[in-house]
């Protein structure tokens, strides 16, 4: 009895202490000032602000993979993001404010990404870069309730219906449709031909496949599907199956290793048909592999981001200043892509500033009012965000692997290519 009493007494005393300490907890007052919208006077006029915005600064987040499987792609994007804003800040920033970046590395692990986002989320106005399909999928409800504008480092068509998600360039299905139409224009494919499609299980692969299926349905063709895992790197079996089926073209929605394997094995086994790939199937390192010759002869890569060698002053300037700062090691399309992300974010913030609303809602509204933004060739065609559910552009550059910086040269004199089938394609069909 005595012991029970003592425990109860300790408990009551501690509870009193708990209440006293808890009562002056700092968290409540903190979050009420940082998360609620308030007005501040930047440059003499009143601008509505929100999280990540002060009178002098705008803070943006980068949630990416610098230590996992996608580090080779994400590192140059992140470097370009940082260089861009350093330069922009030196020129006076945006909306009379300097832009700070918080960079977090999730290593392609959804659990780490969710925790890292909790860390950075309250401090940032928008995400300059968000990389990784499973990570994006896992964060989607949180981003939605936080009204967090996020620029994706991916091109899935499944996320186009979310107003807070910004994609730069044509989605994977549209890339494929354009590439197939180009082959048809060149006389390498005709109505009723069989097309082999090797694709990764998951969002990326199935999105690319949807494009091929749509194109085949419009042109009376059939698709021979070969679903693989990202860990499958030898395409011997798949190519043999496609050869037996008598395909007239091979489409790939995979990684670069599968592209090299497929192109090399197809050429060696006498299956001399065009090989087309979505933009993530190519890496300049492939041109140092034994498959280089087969790739240069047969492969066409479709993507909205300009190849390094595109004859546009801005594209060259972005490439050259990257090489000056970081060397040639990571000279891949990620650089131009990163720059395009920054340029779009700059346009969005500028617009929000004009509207005098830098709150999260205001930033999304500004983004969704942009149309026909010219990216000086960095992205094929002007990009628009004013129609929800529509891609920012349906045009792509079609490029051939070659021994040049960045590994790709655009065909058709670097003209942005947008076929009629790609124009009339309905997302989700």
């Amino acid at each position: 009895m005595n012991r029970t009493l003592r425990i109860v007494a300790t408990g009551v005393a501690a509870a009193a202490l708990f209440a006293a300490v808890g009562g002056c907890g700092s968290k409540g007052s903190d979050s009420s000032t940082s998360s609620s919208s308030s007005s501040s006077s930047g440059g003499g006029e009143s601008i509505k602000t929100g999280p990540g915005i002060t009178d002098k600064t705008i803070t943006l987040g980068i949630l990416t993979d610098l230590s996992g499987v996608f580090a080779p792609l994400a590192t140059p994007i992140t470097q370009t993001n940082q260089d861009y804003w350093k330069k922009k800040n030196a020129e006076g920033g945006v909306c009379n404010r300097t832009v700070n970046l918080i960079t977090k590395d999730h290593g392609y692990d959804p659990q780490k990404a969710v925790v890292q986002y909790r860390d950075m989320g309250p401090k940032v106005a928008a995400l300059q870069q968000l990389l990784g399909s499973p990570i994006t999928a896992a964060l989607l409800p949180t981003l939605k309730s936080d009204r967090m504008l996020s620029i994706l480092s991916a091109w899935p068509s499944s996320l186009l219906g979310n107003d807070f998600v910004i994609e730069i360039g044509a989605p994977y299905d549209v890339e494929m449709i354009n590439a197939l139409d180009y082959l048809k224009d060149q006389g390498k494919l005709k109505d009723g031909d069989k097309i082999g499609h090797i694709y990764f299980e998951g969002e990326y692969g199935e999105n690319g496949l949807a494009g091929t299926k749509y194109w085949a349905s419009k042109n009376g063709g059939t698709v021979v599907e070969q679903k693989i895992q990202p860990t499958d790197e030898d395409m011997t079996g798949q190519i043999a199956a496609l050869k037996r089926a008598g395909v007239k073209a091979i489409a790939l929605t995979t990684g670069p290793k599968q592209m090299a394997s497929a192109a090399g094995i197809a050429a060696a086994s006498g299956l001399n048909v065009p090989v087309i790939g979505n933009n993530p199937t190519f890496d300049p390192a492939l041109m140092a592999s034994p498959a280089a010759k087969a790739l240069a002869a047969n492969a066409i890569i479709a993507g909205s981001i300009s190849p390094w060698t595109l004859d546009q002053p801005k594209v060259k300037e972005v490439g050259n200043s990257y090489i000056a700062a970081h060397g040639k090691k990571n000279a891949k399309a990620s650089v131009q892509f990163g720059y395009a992300q920054d340029e779009v974010m700059y346009q969005i913030l500028n617009k929000a500033c004009e509207n005098k609303d830098l709150s999260r809602e205001g930033i999304i509204k500004a983004a969704r009012s942009l149309s026909n933004v010219d990216t000086a060739g960095l992205v094929a065609g002007p990009v628009s965000y004013d129609k929800l559910g529509e891609a920012s552009t349906r045009a792509v550059y079609l490029s051939k692997p070659a021994n040049v910086i960045g590994g790709l040269t655009a065909v058709e004199n670097g003209k942005a290519f947008e076929s009629d089938t790609a124009k009339s394609y309905q997302f989700g069909s």
Partner: protein, 361 residues
């Protein structure tokens, strides 16, 4: 150390845990909730590995069943945009949580013909397959799992009180707004306490002694009248149900579950947890779960300020890599200096301090 001090220590620990949401920011709460869910699954695994002597590498699979099961039982079919959402039964969340835990237990029971016959490392190898089968199902059974897009987890609610940012709206405790994470923190605490209490009761009664007998000597256990395959299968079932309950909390913590969250490496983490904690110890499993889950996240949180770590994106050691190296080093040091885990360390400490002063032994 007198009993009174031990009791006082528990009271203080309980109050600190109850008080944390008053101060902690989202990062710490999210880390804590992930740790709690890991603790529940680790308790289940230590019952299987530490007490029964069976090895399972399928923890991630059963957690996925719990997580997806909860989303399916509690979810509603919604249509948005071009993609149709997966089906759901729309059960009240509390029933959905129980059903999901039961479903994971059933899946464990379905595996028990194998779990009862194989022992030790052989069962471990057989169970690896489940993780890969699980991944395949999660990617392809789209009407239930949502495929690669994953599916949303309905917020938990009980008697109209939602563990989300709304209902009640603007819910304040001592002036601090309690949103989704603060509310889930308390739900997690309750689930961990109930799980630990149940496991301790199980161990201190007949089933616990029977399981230990199976581990120490199959023959002796059989001679004593213990149904060896039966108990092995039962231990696997209980362990799976624990993982299922953990999965429910995982789903609530994520708000949306995706297949990549339940990969093979996730299973390995749980083995590390129970080894660090000390095999067979419920308290050790909890502490081990907190260390293995929280340490990498906290290291990552502070990695930017570590020496030798390069700017993000610049050449050199990245903070993510640095955090991984430190975590690996910590695990190795643990295994060298506390090879019987934290529970063993605590036992040695207790023995030392309870020895009368001046004793020569």
């Amino acid at each position: 150390v007198s009993k009174r001090w031990v009791t006082a220590g528990w009271v203080v620990l309980a109050l600190v845990l109850l008080w944390i949401p008053q101060y902690a920011e989202g990062f710490w709460l999210q880390t804590g909730i992930f740790s709690m869910s890991a603790a529940i699954a680790a308790i289940g695994l230590t019952l299987l590995v530490g007490v029964t002597g069976q090895l399972s590498l399928a923890t991630a699979f059963f957690i996925a069943i719990g997580a997806y099961g909860y989303c399916f039982f509690a979810g509603h079919k919604e249509d948005f945009g071009p993609i149709a959402s997966p089906d759901g039964l729309g059960l009240p969340p509390i029933l959905a949580a129980i059903a999901a835990t039961g479903l994971a237990g059933l899946a464990g029971a379905a595996f028990s013909p194998i779990a009862g016959r194989l022992k030790g490392i052989y069962l471990g190898l057989a169970s690896i397959g489940l993780v890969f089968i699980g991944q395949h199902i999660l990617q392809n059974a789209k009407s239930i799992t949502g495929g690669f897009n994953g599916r949303d987890a309905e917020a938990f609610s009980i008697f109209g009180f939602r563990f989300a940012n709304d209902h009640p709206d603007n819910f304040n405790v001592f002036g601090v707004p309690y949103g989704q994470l603060e509310r889930l923190w308390y739900l997690g605490l309750v689930l961990v306490v109930v799980s630990a209490w149940y496991a301790r009761n199980l161990l201190r009664n007949r089933p616990g002694r029977a399981l230990e007998a199976v581990r120490d000597s199959e023959v002796a256990a059989a001679v004593m009248g213990v149904n060896v395959p039966g108990y092995r299968g039962a231990a696997f079932t209980v362990s799976s149900a624990y993982a299922g309950l953990a999965g429910v909390l995982v789903a609530l913590a994520y708000q949306r579950v995706v297949p990549e969250s339940f990969n093979f490496l996730y299973s390995i983490d749980f083995l590390v947890m129970i080894v660090i904690g000390g095999l067979g110890s419920v308290g050790g499993a909890i502490v081990g779960a907190v260390i293995v889950t929280a340490l990498p996240l906290i290291l990552l949180h502070y990695a930017d300020s570590l020496p030798l770590v390069a700017e993000p994106g610049a050449g050199g050691l990245q903070s993510g890599d640095a955090a991984r190296f430190l975590y690996g080093a910590a695990v190795v040091i643990f295994l060298i200096y506390a090879s019987d885990g934290l529970a063993g360390l605590a036992r040695r400490f207790r023995l030392k301090s309870s020895k009368p002063k001046g004793s020569t032994a």
